[in-house]
Amino acid sequence: MERRHVLFIVFAVVILVIIPIIFLFHDELGTQSSREVVIYTSVDQVYSEPLFFEFENRTGIHVRPVYDVEAAKTTGLVNRLIAEKAHPRADVFWSGEIVQTMLLEQEGVLERYDSPSAVDIPSHYKSLNGSWTGFGGRGRVLLVNTQRLGTNPAPKSIYDFFDERYPADSLGIAYPMFGTASTHAAALYAVLGRDKAQAFFNRLNDRGVRVVDGNSVVRDLVANGQLTFGLIDTDDACGAVERGAPVIIVIPDQESNGLGTLIIPNTVAIIAGAPHKQEAQQFVDYLLNRDMESELVTSGWIQIPVREGGRVNPCMNSSGIRTMNTTYSEIFPYLAQSQQELRGIFIR
C-alpha cells in the first residue's frame, strides 16, 4: 500500500472516529475519579433534565441519565435493569409511576434506603421494606374537547365511555396493557374485582371505543378534535391545556359514592450494588426534598403532591380529590394478570 493511502486512512480514522469519541467521552475518559451518578428514568427529558443540571450545580456530582421512551412499551429500562442485575450500571431508578418499581423490588434489583428527606411523606407512599419512596403524583383524568363536545354535557365518570350520547369512535383510551394505563387497569381489577373489571373492558372493546398507542396519542387526538374525550394522565392533560387546545380536564368519579380516580406517584429507588452509592443517596435526598416536589409541580410533571399542603398546579384543581379505595400493594398482584387478560381482549 502506498504511503499516501496509509496517511489518508489514518487521517480518515482520526476525523471520523477518534475526534468524535474524544468529544463524546472526554469527561468520562479524563476524569475517572470524579463523582458521578447514573440515573435511569422514565420521566420525560424536558422535566427531568433541568433537575439534573441543578443537582450538578449544587453538588458537583455529574449526572449520567438514561431516558425511557413511551414507544418501548415498558419493555425498556425495567428490562435493562433486570438484565444488568448481576452487574449494575445504574445507581438510581426514578420512575414516573409505581408498579414497575414494585416489580423491580420483587426481582431484587433495589436496595433499601430511608432518605431523611422523606420523613414527611405518608407511609403508604413508601415501600414496606424501604426499597423505594413515592412522591409527587399524577392522576388519571378525562381530557375533553369542548368544541367537539357540542351541546352534550361533559363526562364525569369512566362509565361515561358507555353513554350513547358520545359516539364510541369519538372516545379513546391508551392500550391498558402498557404504562400508567396498565396500572389503572390493575387498580380497577383490585377495586371492582376481576369479573367486573373484565366486564368493563369487554364492554369498552365491544362498544368500539378507540384504543391507541399511548396516553400521548390520546391527548393529541383529543386536542386536535379527532376525539371528544379520552382517559389520560394529568401531565399529558395539562400539557394540552397549556398549549392552548380547546380542552378541559375532568377528574372522573368524584361524587360521594363514586369510584374515585387513581393517583400514580413518582418513585425513586437505589439500585442494589450501585457503583456510586453515596452519590445515589445524595440524589435521592435531593429529589425527595419537599421543595423539589413543589418544583416538579411548577414544571408540570406532577400535579398532585403527596405531602400535606404541597404546592398545587394551576392547570387543575387537585385539592380534595377522591381517590380509588385501594393501596398499591393491593394493585400490584393484579398487574400481570390484568395485562395478560386485557391483551386477549384488546389485541385481536
Binding site: P20, I39, K73, N79, G225, R343, I347
Partner: protein, 539 residues
C-alpha cells in the same frame, strides 16, 4: 498425491467455513443467547412459556391478518417504487438525482413520524371540509393503516425499484425494443430479469411490515408484533417474549425461504450499473398516468412530512432550538452510524466473499443471515445486554453496543446488496485480476474494487440510515449520559413537543442527505479515477 490434494481442498473449506462463522458471530451470538434462554426456560417447564406456546384462535387470526397486511403493504409499496423508477428517465439528469436524494433523505425518519404527519394533515383537512357536504376521512382502520404504512415504505421501495430496473443491459433492451413496444419490454423482459432484486426487496419490506406495530396502532389496528410487546410487558421474561415471537419468526422465515430463489439469483443478476431501462420512454397513456401518480405521491409524502410535523404544528424557533441543543446527540448518532458502516461493511463484504456454494448450504446461510430482520428489536437488545452485561462497563462499550445493535439488525441488508454487486462482476475480469495479483494488491484493487464500489456505497447508505433510525435495541444498550437522535425524538413525542420532533427529524434527514451526497461524490470520483466501466455505466 490425489488424497493430498483432496485433503488440502477439505482443510481449505474448513478454514473458509470457520472464518465465515467468525464473521457471522455478531449476528449469531445475540440470537443464540435468546435461543439458549428460551430453551433453558422451556426445559425447566416454565408454565408461562408453555401457555404462550399453546396456539389460540385469537393469535392465529392476528398472525394471519398481520401477514396479509405486511404482504399487501410491501407489494403496494414495491409497485409504486417500480413506477417511480420507470418515471425517473422522463426527467433531466439533475432532476432525477434530486428525486433520488429526496427519497434517501426520508430513509431514517421513523415510520411513526410519517404516520403522525399523515394523521395531522388529514385531521386538518377534515376540519377544513367539516362545513361542507364532503365525507371526512376515517382516521382509523385497516385502509388508513395500509396507506400510511405504504407511504412510509416508499423511500425503501423506490430505491429497490431504481436498483432493480436501472440494471438491465442496454443491448438487451435495444434488441427487445426492435420487436415489442416499451410496455411489453417492461413486463416481459425487465420485470422478469429484475425478479431477484424485486423478490429480495419484497422480503425486506415484508419483514419491516410484519415486525412493525407503531403505525397500525395509531390507527387502532392490532398486529401480532404488538401482541409480542404485550406479552413481554406483562411478564418481563425474554423467553416468554421469544415464545410469543416464534410464530411470527416462522412466518418470516417462510417468506424468506420463498424469496430465497430471488436472493440467490442475485448472483446471476446483470448488475445495476447499466441504464438500459432508462431508454424506455414510449409508454401508453394509462402507464404515464400511473408514473406521474407515483412521482406526485413521493412529492406529496415529502410535503406531508414537512407540513404534518413542522408546518402545521411547529414553530421555526422551536425547530431551531431543538437542533441547536442536540449537539451531543448528533455526534453520538453520527458516530454510531459511521462505526456501523466502518465495521459492518467490511464484515458484510467478507461474509459475501465466503458465501457457501452448495444449494442447501446457501439456503441455510441466507435464512441464518436474514433471521435477525425478523426478530423484534427489543429482543435483539436483550440478547446483546445478556451477552455483554458483565463487561460493558466503560464509555467505549456504550458506543460499541449501539453500533452492534445496528449491525445485528441491518447487516443482512448490506450483505444482500453487496452479494448482488459482487456476483455481477464479469468472471473474465475477475480472472484477470487474480492473474495480476492477490487480494490487496494494487492491480486487484484497480480491477475488482471499483466494480463492487457502487454496491458497497449503496449498502453503506442503507446501513447508516437504518442504524440512525434504530430505537428498540439501541434504547437498551446506549451509554448512560448519551442518546441517539431517534431516542430523543421519541422522548419529545411523549411530551408533545412537535416543533422539537420536527426539528430533529429534519436534522436526521439532513444528515442522511449529506451522507448520500458524499457517497455519490465518492462513487463518481472512484469511477472517474479507474474508468473501468463503459460510458453508460457511469450514470
Amino acid at each position: 498425491m490425489h488424497s493430498t490434494i483432496h485433503g488440502k481442498v477439505l482443510s481449505g473449506r474448513i478454514v473458509r467455513f470457520m472464518i465465515l462463522l467468525l464473521l457471522l458471530l455478531p449476528i449469531i451470538l445475540p440470537i443464540g443467547v435468546i435461543l439458549v434462554l428460551f430453551c433453558t426456560s422451556l426445559a425447566s417447564g416454565d408454565t408461562g412459556i408453555t401457555t404462550q406456546l399453546v396456539w389460540s384462535g385469537r393469535s392465529g387470526l392476528l398472525l394471519i391478518k398481520s401477514t396479509v397486511y405486511a404482504a399487501v403493504c410491501a407489494l403496494t409499496a414495491l409497485l409504486i417504487g417500480i413506477l417511480y423508477a420507470t418515471a425517473l428517465p422522463r426527467f433531466s439528469r439533475q432532476v432525477s438525482r434530486i428525486m433520488i436524494v429526496l427519497i434517501i433523505a426520508l430513509l431514517p425518519i421513523p415510520p411513526y413520524i410519517h404516520a403522525l404527519a399523515w394523521n395531522n394533515v388529514l385531521s386538518a383537512f377534515n376540519t377544513l371540509i367539516s362545513g361542507t357536504s364532503y365525507q371526512p376521512f376515517a382516521l382509523e382502520g385497516w385502509i388508513m393503516a395500509w396507506w400510511v404504512q405504504v407511504v412510509a415504505f416508499l423511500p425503501f421501495a423506490c430505491l429497490i425499484g431504481i436498483i432493480a430496473l436501472h440494471a438491465i443491459s442496454r443491448d438487451l433492451i435495444d434488441a427487445a425494443r426492435v420487436v415489442s413496444p416499451d410496455i411489453t419490454v417492461l413486463s416481459k423482459i425487465i420485470i422478469p430479469i429484475s425478479y431477484p432484486v424485486l423478490s429480495a426487496g419484497f422480503g425486506f419490506l415484508f419483514l419491516l411490515g410484519i415486525t412493525e406495530y407503531s403505525i397500525p396502532s395509531l390507527f387502532s389496528v392490532d398486529t401480532y408484533a404488538l401482541d409480542i410487546f404485550a406479552a413481554f410487558s406483562a411478564t418481563n421474561v425474554i423467553a416468554i417474549a421469544c415464545a410469543a415471537a416464534l410464530p411470527l419468526i416462522a412466518v418470516a422465515v417462510c417468506v424468506l425461504v420463498l424469496c430465497q430463489p430471488g436472493i440467490r439469483a442475485l448472483g446471476e443478476f446483470p448488475g445495476w450499473t447499466g441504464t438500459g431501462s432508462s431508454q424506455l420512454q414510449d409508454w401508453p397513456a394509462w402507464f404515464r398516468f400511473l408514473q406521474y401518480s407515483a412521482v406526485i405521491l413521493i412529492v406529496l409524502q415529502v410535503g406531508v412530512f414537512i407540513f404534518g410535523t413542522a408546518g402545521s404544528i411547529g414553530s421555526l424557533q422551536g425547530i431551531g432550538t431543538s437542533i441547536s441543543t442536540s449537539g451531543r446527540e448528533i455526534v453520538y448518532s453520527l458516530e454510531i452510524g459511521i462505526l456501523a458502516v466502518l465495521i459492518g461493511i467490511p464484515l458484510a463484504a467478507g461474509i459475501v466473499s465466503l458465501m457457501p456454494k452448495g444449494k442447501y448450504a446457501k439456503n441455510v446461510f441466507w435464512v441464518l443471515v436474514t433471521l435477525s430482520l425478523a426478530i423484534p428489536s427489543s429482543l435483539i437488545g436483550m440478547g446483546l445486554l445478556t451477552l455483554f452485561a458483565a463487561v460493558m462497563i466503560g464509555p467505549i462499550w456504550g458506543l460499541l453496543l449501539p453500533v452492534f445493535a445496528g449491525i445485528v439488525r441491518f447487516l443482512p441488508v448490506a450483505i444482500i446488496i453487496i452479494s448482488a454487486q459482487v456476483h455481477m462482476i464479469d468472471p473474465v475480469l475477475l480472472d484477470a485480476a487474480r492473474f495480476l495479483g492477490d487480494i490487496g494488491s494494487a492491480s486487484y484493487r484497480r480491477v475488482v474494487a471499483p466494480m463492487i464500489a457502487p454496491g458497497i456505497f449503496i449498502a453503506a447508505v442503507f446501513l447508516f440510515a437504518l442504524t440512525l433510525g434504530e430505537l428498540g435495541a439501541t434504547l437498551l444498550v446506549a451509554a448512560p449520559g448519551h442518546q441517539t437522535l431517534t431516542m430523543k425524538i421519541y422522548n419529545y413525542l411523549h411530551y408533545g413537543s412537535f416543533s422539537a420532533v420536527a426539528g430533529l427529524c429534519v436534522l436526521m434527514a439532513g444528515i442522511t442527505t449529506i451522507a448520500t451526497l458524499l457517497t455519490m461524490f465518492g462513487i463518481s470520483l472512484w469511477i472517474k479515477r479507474f474508468r473501468l466501466f463503459g460510458s453508460d455505466a457511469h450514470d
